[in-house]
């Protein structure tokens, strides 16, 4: 298929994108460091930035305020009943952190961080996760070399992995079926059940309920 792709006659729709146009939007970064702009940031500079622009949601130690995401800790929890998946405990590559912060954080002001600020705050999140020391300076040159604890933790989709067969009769032993009911009261059902005390069906409605 890729042969015919380049061989075919273009229809002539759209126009060439200029290098300048592309540069402004081409913000993605890969594990091998491709896409990282020149720049740098220290854990120390990162701390100040983090405290002022991140900690209100993610907590001073990356512990997460209320239901906002936890960013640090959780080592060796991936096999527990309630794992804590964080940058440190779960993420395979440091590039993802830089890329994500630069494209999406802080939540309410995406794309407001400069390149150097992104290096700094990324360094600080790595520091919160004990991945770098407090005197570390993150740069275009060293980011791809950072080894994340869970870098070997992933494997490519190998489904179907849970085979069933189209059995029609005696597919289970009736006496071995165990039926577990619903934990009640935590989903909005007021629109079809009159007898329950349940959450509202939107965040706004739930908030005004609780106020």
């Amino acid at each position: 298929a890729s042969l015919s792709l380049s061989a075919a006659e273009p229809l002539g729709i759209g126009r060439m994108a200029t290098a300048d146009e592309i540069a402004g939007w081409d913000i993605d970064v890969r594990p091998d460091g491709q896409g990282l702009p020149p720049g740098q940031g220290s854990v120390m500079n990162g701390e100040l930035l983090y405290e002022s622009r991140c900690a209100s949601c993610h907590g001073s130690f990356g512990e997460g305020i209320d239901r906002w995401p936890v960013l640090a800790g959780g080592y060796d929890t991936l096999t527990l009943e309630r794992p804590t998946k964080t940058v440190g405990s779960y993420w395979p590559y440091a590039s993802t952190l830089w890329d994500y912060i630069y494209r999406a954080m802080p939540f309410s002001a995406p794309r407001s961080l400069s390149v150097d600020e992104t290096y700094a705050v990324s360094a600080y999140v790595l520091y919160l996760n004990d991945i770098v020391d407090d005197d570390f300076v993150l740069t275009q040159g060293n980011l791809a070399r950072i080894e994340m604890p869970n870098r070997e933790g992933f494997f490519v989709d190998n489904r179907p992995d849970s085979p069933n067969t189209r059995c029609m009769q005696e597919c289970a032993r009736p006496d071995q079926l165990e039926m577990v009911g619903t934990i009640g009261g935590i989903t909005p059902v007021g629109h079809f059940r009159a007898d329950v005390d349940a959450p509202a069906a939107s965040h706004d409605a739930q908030k005004s309920l609780e106020d």
Partner: protein, 400 residues
């Protein structure tokens, strides 16, 4: 007919409007044309809306709302009820100021306006879209008390756009090109890596849903649709496509949308939504109200193609009977199944089990948990159970 089944007159019914009387609305004029240039449902249908479960997310901006499947018929989801999922709220984009850039390992990096994109030959396809977290709240146990919350991260529309293949052809993909990064124009700049193989197969760059331009919540003015794949890959508010030689491992394909198994290892690039099904009638929102004839109805779907067969069990999976598929049976689209029977107050443990064209049979919850544990979050497509009580009430249960 029907001694057993009477016309149930609810307390609120005004008998002045029942025959032999002439109802009030038959004795007067209604509103005229273009009273609503763009029409809305009857005020009597105000309960048929999207809903969320507030505690699932910190706030509504990065959250999800579910489609009211219990009230829907056929396979098309009306645009106003298509489930919502996004990470930085719904941007309000001026289509004249929206651009798509296609670059990277291509001969000719291109930039398109919406008008440009709509000049390409268009294709329209009816495809489901499902969040891979659909049903994911139930890995550890049943907790959602309604169909809208157990399965409502699921909709099906007729999508119209340009096959991504055509755009790639326009730009000329270099031989090294193997993956594509798709990126949104929302505050999250949502990004996912998509294998070139999929892009050349059936990925669509979409500007319309169910005939009209995309709704803001579904990516207006432009989005990707990766038929049969987890919804998150179908990037909304699409602004950029970069061709590369390897995947990007962005946040939504590492931190999220990877499936953690019991041994601590996680599955990555788990794109396909495997065959799944659910009974939509009866269900918690639609209990059985009358004995006698009943049509058990539901939806089945598979990211690998057509649904081939759906079976129904009344006894929690001990024995099964084949259901009928009805209406259009389209690949990677919602498919209706039906079984007519009688209900005379017996209790049921009602299940549906889908099989797709590849022969894949939807697993039991037990089978899925054995292989995947309970921390997988995503891709929970196990056989679902409704308990029908002697009074016709329906509740969500799990059989283990």
């Amino acid at each position: 007919a029907a001694a057993a089944s009477g016309v149930a007159v609810a307390a609120s019914v005004n008998t002045d409007n029942l025959p032999p009387n002439e109802p009030s609305w038959s004795r007067q004029l209604g509103h005229g044309v273009v009273d609503s240039p763009y029409g809305m449902p009857s005020t009597y249908e105000q309960h048929v809306v999207r809903r969320t479960v507030p505690w699932l997310t910190a706030e509504s901006i990065s959250s999800i709302s579910m489609t009211p499947l219990a009230d829907l018929k056929g396979i098309i989801t009306p645009n106003g009820l298509v489930f919502e999922r996004y990470h930085a709220g719904v941007p309000l984009i001026n289509p004249d100021e929206h651009r798509l850039i296609l670059h990277g390992l291509v001969e000719r990096p291109l930039i398109f306006t919406m008008d440009d994109l709509m000049r390409f030959p268009s294709a329209s396809e009816i495809k489901f879209i499902e969040c891979p977290a659909n049903g994911g709240m139930e890995w550890k146990g049943a907790q959602m008390e309604a169909l809208q919350f157990t399965h409502g991260m699921l909709s099906c529309c007729e999508w119209t756009g340009v096959p991504l293949r055509v755009l790639l052809q326009e730009a000329g993909v270099k031989p090294e090109g193997k993956w594509i990064l798709a990126e949104g124009a929302d505050g999250a700049h949502m990004s996912r890596s998509i294998p070139l193989e999929k892009a050349l197969d059936d990925t669509l760059v979409v500007y319309a849903q169910n005939g009209e331009r995309l709704r803001p919540e579904q990516g207006y003015p432009l989005r990707l649709i990766n038929p049969g794949w987890e919804g998150n890959t179908s990037i909304k508010w699409l602004r950029r496509l970069e061709v590369g030689d390897q995947p990007w491992y962005h946040r939504e394909e590492t931190s999220k949308y990877t499936d953690l198994l019991a041994n601590g290892k996680a599955r990555k690039f788990s794109f396909v939504q495997e065959a799944n099904s659910v009974i939509t009638h009866p269900c918690p929102e639609k209990p059985i109200r009358q004995s006698g004839f009943i049509e058990i109805e539901g939806l089945a779907w598979s990211g690998r193609g057509h649904i081939k067969q759906v079976d129904i069990s009344f006894d929690g999976g001990v024995s099964w009977v084949p259901a009928q598929l009805k209406g259009l049976v389209l690949p990677k689209a919602l498919t209706r199944f039906s079984l007519v029977t009688r209900w005379e107050g017996q209790t049921w443990l009602l299940q549906a089990r889908a099989m797709d064209e590849t022969g894949y049979v939807q697993p039991t919850l037990k089978q899925l948990r054995e292989v995947r544990g309970t921390n997988s979050i995503y891709h929970k497509n196990s056989i679902h159970t409704w308990k029908v009580a002697a009074n016709g009430e329906v509740t969500n249960v799990q059989i283990t």
